[in-house]
């Protein structure tokens, strides 16, 4: 194994340049080093001007989403040795405006997320002493979708989001399903207008790349297809059944 690997890093410094450029850095190639360790080495030792987001280094915080050799990845769980002998090309996540270097603007997602009410909606005020009990089977229904860390890798992988920025997107819909499928929640009807709209699940054409990119195995593509069936079912029931029987 060689001692070093070349990292080609996408740079955009708005005060200096109107178009992005590439900078190359030689970083130590160690088997325990992730792309994020390489970036930290650059920042500490080679070029302090490099900007990127990171926090936990262990795939929990969802801050270090970036494009590594064309694929959306978490910088902290993508190992440099997998790209030896290199070079490793690091870009910001696709489909987002770039603030600086690898830092993207995700305000669009932040604005869309609350529209699907990603919290437990309860019809009645809960009693302070009440426990909301749930069986393991009930929990299994939504647990997978609750693992989302808002890292935006699914949005970066989604060509529909690239072409139609109005699309609510994979993570927001998966998070809506996380609550829709929770036995303690009664907000499915509140979320329906947003989810069952043209910008909701029906914008998705099941490319499936969101589920491939997801580092937490959330399967947003599955969540979306499942809601399509729910939405279609509801629409037919609304049409055919009297109000009381829906």
């Amino acid at each position: 194994m060689p001692d070093t690997i070349t990292m080609e890093v996408w740079r955009y410094r708005p005060e200096r340049e109107s178009e992005p450029t590439w900078d190359s850095y030689e970083v130590p190639l160690r088997k325990e080093w992730a792309v994020l360790d390489g970036l930290n080495h650059i920042k500490d030792q080679l070029d302090g001007t490099l900007s990127y987001r990171w926090s936990c280094r262990m795939g929990i915080c969802g801050s270090c989403g970036m494009t590594v050799n064309g694929e959306p990845k978490l910088g902290c769980s993508t190992f440099l040795t997998d790209y030896a002998p290199g070079p490793v090309r690091v870009e910001p996540l696709h489909n987002f405006p770039v603030i600086r270097d690898l830092v993207v603007e995700m305000g669009d997602f932040m604005a869309k997320l609350p529209t699907v009410k990603p919290w437990l909606v309860s019809d009645d005020e809960p009693d302070e002493d009440t426990e909301y009990r749930q069986t393991p089977v009930e929990m299994d229904d939504y647990k997978r979708y609750s693992m989302c860390i808002n890292c935006m890798l699914c949005y970066a992988a989604c060509p529909v989001y690239a072409l139609d920025p109005e699309f609510i997107g994979p993570a927001a819909i998966a998070l809506a399903q996380r609550y829709n499928l929770d036995s303690r929640d009664s907000g499915a009807e509140d979320r329906r207008d947003v989810l069952a709209s043209a910008e909701g699940v029906w914008a998705c054409t099941f490319v499936g790349e969101c589920s491939v990119a997801c580092p937490k195995d959330v399967d947003p593509a599955g969540a979306i297809q499942r809601y399509k069936l729910t939405a279609a079912n509801k629409a037919v029931r609304d049409l055919l059944l009297p109000r009381g029987a829906r």
Binding site: P14, S18, T205, K228
Partner: protein, 129 residues
């Protein structure tokens, strides 16, 4: 604080060639055109059958035109792509529980293909008998 100067990377014209899954996505979108053509073709057949024998003969002559045969072969390929990818979606959309057990996705997929086979057999029987 001055306004941020965001860089918006352009979407390249050939983005759909970047990954096989993107290519399949674009081809599936395109398949809708051919499915629309098959609907039109079917309506033409129904109209011809409903008219006199001469109209039906004209329809058969039109269908034997090599250009139309080529078009229909291409359309069939796209319709098959559409059907196969649609069936691939079904196990994702349908979560069926039998008690505490979830029906495996493979079984749901196989059931769809089995249903397809049965419907095709019935249609073949109606047409060929």
């Amino acid at each position: 604080m001055s306004a941020q100067r965001l860089y918006r990377p352009p979407v390249s014209l050939t983005w759909w060639l970047r990954k096989p899954s993107y290519l399949v996505f674009v081809l599936r979108e395109l398949s809708s055109v051919f499915i629309a053509w098959f609907v039109v073709y079917l309506l033409m057949l129904v109209y011809a059958v409903g008219s006199d024998p001469a109209a039906y003969r004209d329809f058969l002559d039109l269908s034997a035109n090599p250009a139309l045969v080529v078009l229909n072969v291409i359309a069939l390929a796209f319709v098959v792509l559409h059907a196969v990818t649609w069936f691939g979606l079904a196990p994702k959309a349908m979560v069926i529980r039998l008690g505490a057990l979830r029906v495996p996705p493979g079984v749901i997929l196989a059931a769809h293909y089995a249903a397809w086979l049965v419907v095709s057999a019935v249609v073949a029987w109606v047409v060929l008998r």
